[in-house]
């Protein structure tokens, strides 16, 4: 499964609890009222009261809560979030369901590069293709990023009490128990790795604010069901993301609506999968196409947040921190490279208060940060931590590049529309956008040790 980020792959690597080992989760059995007679037929088929026995399946959510064998989780995952599953859903439910999609700016940049088109044109082309295909709304996940950044800034301010900051109004709204340094929560490769291998010493540092994708998830179905007057469960939400890891994220129990017993994001397609579906549609009817907005009635702009292809968390969060503290004017942030090109830090002084932030991409930098945190030698306020080397534009689900030099071209597409002025109205219920993490207990299967 080379599509997953390296961090995720490492936790999956287990040759002896590998594919051959059977799932250890007990399968929930729905008991039928009548006692059945199970018959084994000559052809090996099992029937109960002459009806074929229903095969019980383990859902990905079961798998994620278990570390017995990740291999089966991968299989379930790939199966449940494939183009095939989406097309089946389209055929079976297109009459009853409202289909909507959220596109990530990393996916758009990758497709734009492939098509040799600009960012805006590509957005319009994809929106046109999706709308022709029957998708009622097409959103930009940047709208979720913006909320994520605002809320994360409040969270960061709230756990920066030792800095003796002036009390700001927003302080009261997002009060999580996160500890400093606060680590970004947007990368599921990193989150799954942390949950599978690290304890509270590290998990306590991960921002409780949902990722942009799952913020969109929290909003999209309720908003669309209201606008279209359909039940929540009849909205089908597809998200297009730069990595397979995001498929895992969408399957987390936290991101299944308890109230409606229904996933907030039904299916995540990788950029390459989305390109296969919509990338080659004709370019007619692009004119005047716009992103819909979940929070407002006006179109959402064709923009990306400043701060680089991983979503600009460090820059944007500090930008909002500065605004909350009453600083005006643009925020000067000069990141300097540390030991390698995927490890950067910046120190900013906002109204006399110093904030130290870092960007750490790729598994080796994650490792070094984890060790520093464990040994209490990590004095950053916030770290934009991402599993992929070079960050999200280099995600495992992106369209394959011929050579590594092309990545800078994709980055150029992304930054061509970067801005630090994306307007957003503040959502009323921040609690809606919080999440939590828990360590997955290691199954101590000391199967035959191999020297």
């Amino acid at each position: 499964m080379n599509n997953f980020s390296g961090a995720l792959r490492l936790t999956d690597l287990n040759d002896f609890i590998g594919p051959s080992q059977e799932c250890i989760k007990p399968v929930p059995v729905t008991k039928s009222k009548k006692r059945g007679v199970v018959k084994l037929h000559d052809d090996g088929a099992l029937t109960q009261n002459s009806l074929p026995l229903q095969k019980e399946t383990i859902s990905l959510t079961d798998c994620l809560a278990c570390s017995g064998c990740v291999t089966s989780a991968e299989t379930v995952l790939i199966e449940s979030q494939s183009i095939g599953t989406l097309q089946r859903a389209r055929v079976e439910t297109h009459k009853s369901h409202v289909f909507v999609a959220t596109l990530s700016p990393q996916s758009i940049s990758s497709i734009a590069h492939k098509l040799r088109m600009g960012y805006v044109e590509t957005c319009q082309k994809l929106i046109a293709a999706l709308k022709c295909d029957g998708y009622k709304y097409v959103f930009s996940s940047v709208e979720g990023s913006e909320l994520c950044h605002q809320l994360s800034a409040e969270e960061l301010l709230n756990c920066s009490r030792e800095k003796n900051l002036p009390d700001t109004n927003s302080d009261k709204s997002v009060n999580t128990s996160v500890k400093k340094p606060v680590l970004a929560s947007a990368c599921p490769g990193w989150i799954c790795y942390a949950e599978k291998t690290q304890g509270a010493a590290v998990l306590d540092h991960i921002s409780r604010i949902r990722s942009p994708q799952s913020i969109m998830g929290a909003l999209v179905k309720s908003v669309v069901s209201q606008r279209e007057s359909v039940p929540y469960s009849q909205v089908y939400h597809v998200s297009v993301m730069p990595c397979y890891d995001k498929k895992l994220e969408a399957s987390r129990a936290d991101f299944v609506s308890k109230e409606h017993d229904c996933a907030e994001t039904d299916l995540v397609l990788s950029t390459a999968e989305a390109f296969d579906l919509w990338g080659n549609n004709s370019t007619d009817m692009m004119e005047g196409r716009n992103f819909d907005s979940v929070l407002t009635d006006s179109p959402f702009p064709f923009k990306t947040p400043v701060g680089g292809g991983s979503g600009g968390f460090a820059e944007r969060i500090l930008h909002h921190v500065a605004r909350s503290l009453g600083a005006s004017g643009p925020l000067e942030m000069n990141f300097k490279q540390l030991r390698n090109k995927d490890l950067l830090e910046a120190v900013v002084v906002i109204n006399g208060t110093e904030f130290r932030v870092a960007k750490a991409y790729g598994f080796r930098n994650i490792q070094n940060i984890i060790q520093k945190i464990k040994h209490k030698r990590c004095n950053y306020d916030y770290i934009e931590l991402m599993a992929c080397p070079a960050g999200c534009l280099n995600g495992g689900g992106q369209i394959k590049l011929e050579d590594s030099g092309e990545l800078s071209e994709v980055t150029a597409v992304y930054t061509s529309v970067s801005t630090d002025e994306i307007k957003n109205s503040k959502p009323l219920l921040p609690d809606l956008f919080l999440t939590s993490y828990k360590a997955v207990e290691k199954s101590t299967s000391a199967l035959n040790t191999q020297w």
């Binding site: 792959r9 690597l13 287990n14 030991r339 390698n340 070094n368």
Partner: protein, 314 residues
């Protein structure tokens, strides 16, 4: 006549002894094994004695112990998924646990210092090879290489160049080189039909010999035009009836093998191939797990809970 004379049998470890390594700067031998301890052995008054036992670092089997080039540090690879670093304190004349490197998912199988001591490499059942950068007392992860498809058994540095080699349960040997600020796999060597347990270079590094569960040795020679490229020039079969767990190419040119038939064999190079020059049957009362040369001294570690020291006579 080439032969080995038994110099000493060192007892003290409880359970299998997995690894022996000679200090590069003195005639001190380090050994490690199932009992989680590291023992240092030296000749005192004519006999070999255990001078120090290091305990309390690793919590499970210590699969390999490796001296740093300066002779003041030891790295230990353990099944507890960590690598411990021990440092010699000249003032107190004691060995102290200086660092515990975490990160591998499960059993660490092997650990090796680069020739200049700037890097440390480790590998694990989690299929990954890690390169650590040594900065004073700090060990930073410089790269995590996930190219093997199975358990990685051994890491070995090239004797003169900054190249790292790894041997795996996936039957291959791979070589890594620095690439920008990271490391990358430059070449993969296939040929063995089962687990490659180890490999060892000759003095100049233009050849290495690999040993395998497939009961063969393979001799690989460096391509004249490409530093990372080695080609298998000969397969040495018919001598071993059981898996070959380790191989050590001495400075004098003799290659020693440790095998699952309790024997130690010595080979000499002849053209591209190897010639058996001595068979030490029943070298131990169990599998021989590891062999290590220092001049004419050969140390061997075995499942029979002992370490033996042999002298080469030619």
């Amino acid at each position: 006549m080439v032969k080995l004379t038994l110099e000493a049998t060192l007892s003290g470890h409880k359970g299998q002894v997995w690894s022996v390594d000679w200090s590069p700067t003195s005639k001190t031998l380090a050994s490690s094994g199932q009992d989680k301890s590291i023992k240092l052995w030296r000749q005192e008054g004519g006999s070999w004695v255990c001078v120090t036992t290091l305990e309390g670092g690793n919590t499970r089997t210590v699969r390999q112990v490796a001296w740093s080039p300066c002779g003041n540090k030891l790295a230990t690879a353990s099944f507890d998924s960590t690598t411990c670093i021990w440092e010699y304190d000249r003032n107190t004349s004691t060995w102290d646990l200086a660092a515990t490197l975490e990160g591998h998912e499960n059993e660490v199988k092997s650990v090796a210092w680069s020739g200049d001591g700037d890097y440390l490499a480790s590998c694990s059942r989690d299929k990954s090879v890690w390169v650590w950068e040594v900065m004073d007392d700090d060990y930073e992860c410089a790269s995590v290489l996930q190219v093997h498809s199975q358990d990685v058994k051994k890491v070995v540095w090239h004797p003169t160049d900054p190249l790292l080699f790894s041997a795996s349960y996936d039957d291959t040997v791979k070589v890594y080189k620095e690439f920008g600020d990271d490391w990358e796999c430059a070449e993969s060597f296939t040929g063995h039909s089962s687990t490659v347990w180890g490999l060892s270079f000759n003095k100049s590094g233009d050849k290495f010999v690999s040993c395998s569960d497939d009961r063969t040795l393979r001799v690989w020679c460096r391509d004249e035009n490409k530093a990372t490229k080695y080609t298998c020039k000969s397969t040495v079969c018919g001598f071993h009836s059981r898996p070959i767990y380790d191989v050590s190419w001495g400075r004098h040119g003799y290659i020693a093998t440790a095998a699952g038939d309790n024997a130690i064999r010595l080979f000499e190079q002849q053209g591209a191939s190897l010639l058996l020059s001595h068979l030490q049957s029943d070298a131990h009362f169990g599998d021989v797990n590891c062999v290590s040369w220092k001049g004419n001294l050969l140390a061997s570690a075995s499942d029979d809970e002992t370490v033996r020291i042999w002298t080469l006579e030619t």
